[in-house]
């Protein structure tokens, strides 16, 4: 392989190349409905414009066509025709078993339980997992951004604050599968606050109300002199604009279901459009039925009320009253619904803030965080404290949960508690780690189970076993049990029971090599095109400026190679373009030398360059 063209330097002056020029770490809002990517440029976060058909938003829809994978609007358009090869709202399935997904969504797909209980989609010619589908979305964002930003390797990805361990792990796996180093998972409302906080230098207590397509999050944040503290989080992983669509379509749903999944998807897509129109207009038609804004409002009032219930709970967790909140930040497309704005304003007794585009604010905040994590002179004054969304605990005798780390505790964090044996001579302790707010193990989510063996046989209640829970900044958990006398210990990194196992991740990584190749091809093609553009421009410029140095036959050769290269750039084959570039380079190399000599002559006041040799 050829090196780039180099120049001679003085002895010892060869620059040390520590790193290649790096492209920025990006922030990604991996939404249920739409995904966006942003990065910080010149100290300001901005969204990557024109990601998908002119919009900064990439619909989080993936469609598997013959031999290709479509993402975004193109995939959404295929959803109606090929419902069984198209996946929307994949975020609903992340780290979830099929029976944990709402039935209305679940029945749109043919599902199977995967190796570890996680849902898998059966498609026409393959089956795939939520992690792999999400990776397609990330990969699409990544490759579309790479044409502007160069290779992207690091990202901060946002997740709903309510995401549990399994869902967070699944999101991280998707990032890894897409070839991204996930610097951090950031709670979406926290990201929004970061975007606002840094832009405005605000102080005080803020509520972030995020109502997207599939999820609702409420966070209570305190901003003091550039330090953010999340005081409380709450929400609902199964409530969003999709549910508004379902509510609006309700009266027509039975009929659609009788006609099959195609009709259901069609009805839901039209319901969404009508709902969005009703944010601006008093009435519209849904498949011929006239619906009014009043009717929509009546249908979604219980859902909006449900979000307000979560808001009140979060305020209570933070020991605040609605009037203690200095500002309310609106995030997510569904906060454009007038009823939502009204209800939120009523509850807090003030108009909410929406000066940053509610669609972009999360991605912008994630970009700010990515920049903070990678900037050489990382700003120490912006410290971000996140909180744990759900309590983490252990099963104790009788199926009761003992909480070790309570929800809304700031992370990273660790906490330990000492346990003992309940039977004489007991030499093993069953450690069952659970997550949730309920008192009974049966009502919480089981995260992991392991057995600590080798406890010295002692009378009941004499052994001392310290159990430590440590939560890292991504809210991922490791649990260590240590017997005090012998020091024997055992640690588990929580392998969420609904995430992919390492082997599964490896397997999909391997199967994605096929992709890696086409990704590389796409990138090579792109860079050949850029190079071709540059050289064509240079050639044309020199023909005009120094064309007199050429014999007619030489000029003809160069011009025909220019024409050939122009044609080649329209081809999708990097090799063809490369050959045409080389041909033009070759035919113009004598010309280039003469142009250079003429330049030198002019610089030296008319002497021939060879006089100085």
């Amino acid at each position: 392989m050829d090196s780039p063209l180099l120049d001679i330097v003085e002895p010892g002056a060869t620059p040390t190349k520590e790193k290649c020029p790096v492209s920025p770490a990006v922030g990604i809002d991996l939404g249920t409905t739409n995904s966006l990517m942003a990065w910080v440029q010149g100290g300001k976060p901005r969204c990557l414009a024109d990601v998908d058909e002119g919009s900064a938003m990439l619909p989080s829809v993936v469609s598997y066509a013959e031999g290709e994978v479509l993402v975004g609007q193109a995939a959404r358009r295929r959803a109606l025709e090929f419902p069984h090869q198209t996946i929307s709202s994949v975020k609903r399935f992340m780290g979830r078993a099929p029976n944990e997904v709402p039935p209305e969504i679940r029945k749109l797909y043919r599902l199977a339980e995967g190796d570890s209980g996680v849902a898998r989609f059966y498609l026409k010619d393959r089956d795939t997992s939520p992690v792999e589908v999400s990776a397609e979305i990330l990969r699409a964002l990544k490759s579309r951004a790479e044409s502007t930003l160069g290779p992207i390797t690091q990202a901060v990805i946002t997740v709903p604050a309510y995401f549990d361990d399994a869902q967070r792990q699944a999101t991280k796996d998707a990032g890894r599968l897409a070839g991204l180093e996930v610097l951090r998972l950031l709670n979406e409302p926290t990201a929004a606050a970061l975007a606002y906080g840094l832009d405005k230098g605000s102080q005080g207590t803020f509520a972030v109300y995020d109502l997207g397509g599939g999820t609702f999050d409420i966070s209570i944040l305190k901003l003091i002199e550039g330090v953010f503290e999340v005081k409380a989080v709450g929400g609902d992983t199964q409530l969003g604009g999709d549910d508004f669509d379902l509510a609006l379509a309700g009266p027509q749903m039975d009929a659609a279901q009788k006609s099959g999944p195609h009709a259901v998807q069609q009805l839901l897509q039209e319901a969404r459009a009508v709902k969005e129109v009703l944010s601006d207009l008093p009435e519209a038609r849904l498949q011929g039925r006239l619906v009014t804004r009043d009717e929509l409002e009546a249908a979604i009032t219980p859902l909006v009320e449900k979000t307000l219930g979560s808001v009140r709970r979060a305020l209570k967790d933070a020991a605040l009253k609605p009037q203690d909140v200095d500002g309310v930040i609106l995030v997510g497309g569904s906060t454009r619904v007038p009823l939502v704005r009204r209800k939120v304003a009523d509850l807090f007794g003030k108009e909410p803030l929406a000066d940053i585009d509610p669609d972009q604010v999360v991605a912008l905040g994630a970009a700010v965080q990515a920049d903070l994590l990678t900037a050489e002179n990382a700003r120490e004054d912006v410290l971000l404290l996140d909180v744990l969304p759900l309590s983490l605990g252990l099963e104790t005798y009788g199926g009761i949960v003992e909480k070790i780390i309570h929800r809304n505790t700031t992370v990273p964090n660790s906490a330990a508690q000492t346990f003992t044996t309940y039977a004489d001579g007991q030499t093993a302790l069953d450690v069952h780690v659970v997550q949730g707010e309920r008192e009974l193990v049966a009502d919480c989510r089981s995260l992991a189970r392991f057995v600590l063996r080798g406890i010295p046989p002692l009378p009941a209640g004499f052994a001392r076993i310290d159990i430590t829970f440590a939560v890292d900044q991504n809210a991922l958990l490791s649990v260590t049990a240590r017997e005090q006398l012998t020091g024997i210990s055992q640690t588990v990194e929580i392998k969420p029971s609904h995430g992919l196992t390492d082997e599964e991740v490896e397997r999909v990584l391997l199967s994605s090599f096929e992709h890696a190749e086409s990704d590389l091809e796409a990138r090579t093609l792109l860079s050949e095109r850029v190079e071709a553009g540059r050289i064509l421009q240079a050639a044309q410029k020199q023909l005009v400026a120094n064309g007199d140095l050429l014999e007619p036959s030489e000029r003809q050769a160069i011009e025909s190679n220019i024409a050939a290269l122009t044609l080649a750039t329209k081809s999708d084959d990097a090799g063809t373009i490369h050959l045409a570039i080389e041909a033009l380079d070759h035919s113009s190399s004598d010309f280039a030398r003469r142009v250079m000599e003429r330049g030198l002559q002019r610089a030296m006041g008319g002497h021939r360059a060879s006089e100085f040799a």
Partner: protein, 112 residues
């Protein structure tokens, strides 16, 4: 195999040497590789006013090119050339041992 310095490269080296005040009869060019760069190694092209012990010396058209023995292993088979293109001109290592290079092309991983 060996390292080849083309006549075009020699001609340019000669010009560049002539333009330097420090240049003496011993002066030449040092080419080689050194550690660093994201892909492991990167190229060196420096003026050299005297050879070092164990250097290999390549003479083309009266121009001396020095290569240290370790670099010579990595550069075996390489053609060291000078290219003038419409966009840019400069020296180039055409190294058959390089199988991959980083994004900026300046550092590389040799195939062993």
């Amino acid at each position: 195999m060996a390292i080849t310095v083309t006549v075009q490269a020699a001609e340019q080296i000669k010009k560049k040497l002539a333009a330097r005040a420090q240049t003496t009869a011993q002066s030449g060019l040092r080419i080689g590789v050194k550690g660093g760069g994201c892909s492991g190694l990167s190229y060196v092209i420096e003026f050299a006013d005297a050879p070092r012990a164990h250097d290999r010396v390549i003479e083309v058209d009266g121009v001396k090119v020095y290569v240290d023995p370790k670099s010579a292993i990595y550069l075996d088979g390489t053609v060291f050339d000078f290219e003038t293109k419409l966009l840019q001109s400069g020296f180039v290592f055409k190294n058959p041992k390089v199988k991959s290079a980083c994004g900026c092309g300046e550092s590389f991983t040799p195939a062993v």
